[in-house]
Symmetry: C2
Subunit: 146 residues, 2 copies
Amino acid sequence: MSNQLPYYYEVNLEWLSERTGELTAEHLPSLQIGVPPEFGGKEGIWTPEHLYVASVNSCFWATFLSIAHNSKLEFNQFRCSAKGKLEKVEGNGLQIIEITLKPRLTLLSESDKEKAIRIIEKAEKNCLISNSIKTIIKLEIEVVNA
Amino acid sequence: MSNQLPYYYEVNLEWLSERTGELTAEHLPSLQIGVPPEFGGKEGIWTPEHLYVASVNSCFWATFLSIAHNSKLEFNQFRCSAKGKLEKVEGNGLQIIEITLKPRLTLLSESDKEKAIRIIEKAEKNCLISNSIKTIIKLEIEVVNA
């Protein structure tokens, strides 16, 4: 894979009206976006802040899937909630200062619990979006049995 | 606004099958996501990398709208392409090292051109997602007349 790097990801935005717009990217379904209600937009549309939290959550998940596959970990459910905190930082304006990830993994065998926790922790450390940001990532792991 | 901070943004992920999942958030339409093809996923689904580039692009746009509104700038079209570069960084693994933003603004009056450029540059500097990341943002501005 490393021979093929760098990879590029392109997303286009077009302003529609008021505080709404549309995101398009090659081969992908288009996505309506808006300014969040607390900044003058309206409810019910994906916002920059939600997309950011979504990118961290989904990259963590994708990295977990990859490491779990290589480690032959067996599970039948994976969910993860991610909650980003937007705060004013002295000298740097508004910032998403932290994101709390709460993965919930359902294992087929209880004996895999410690291994599963190690894999989840490794996934967070190796996530390429986590590597790209200043936001602090907190991890609250829950591992249960099927 | 500062009295109400912090704001929270929560997004939940559920693994569906193979390398696809679903993102949900309160009041928002659900969004299918997947691992990108170059990491073993299939084409045609939003990926963590695309969501990340989308969050930067849309936050820049939202910040531009806000500053342009406060500055009474008149325009009738705003588009912006954003291209993220994923590269291996020594000692830190894979990382989105830079995103190039190419805004294209259509003004109603040519005399607003310099003001418009200042507003676009200010929008990039004040974007709360830009403030939250290590990724370098490059800006290539195009301002035209209607």
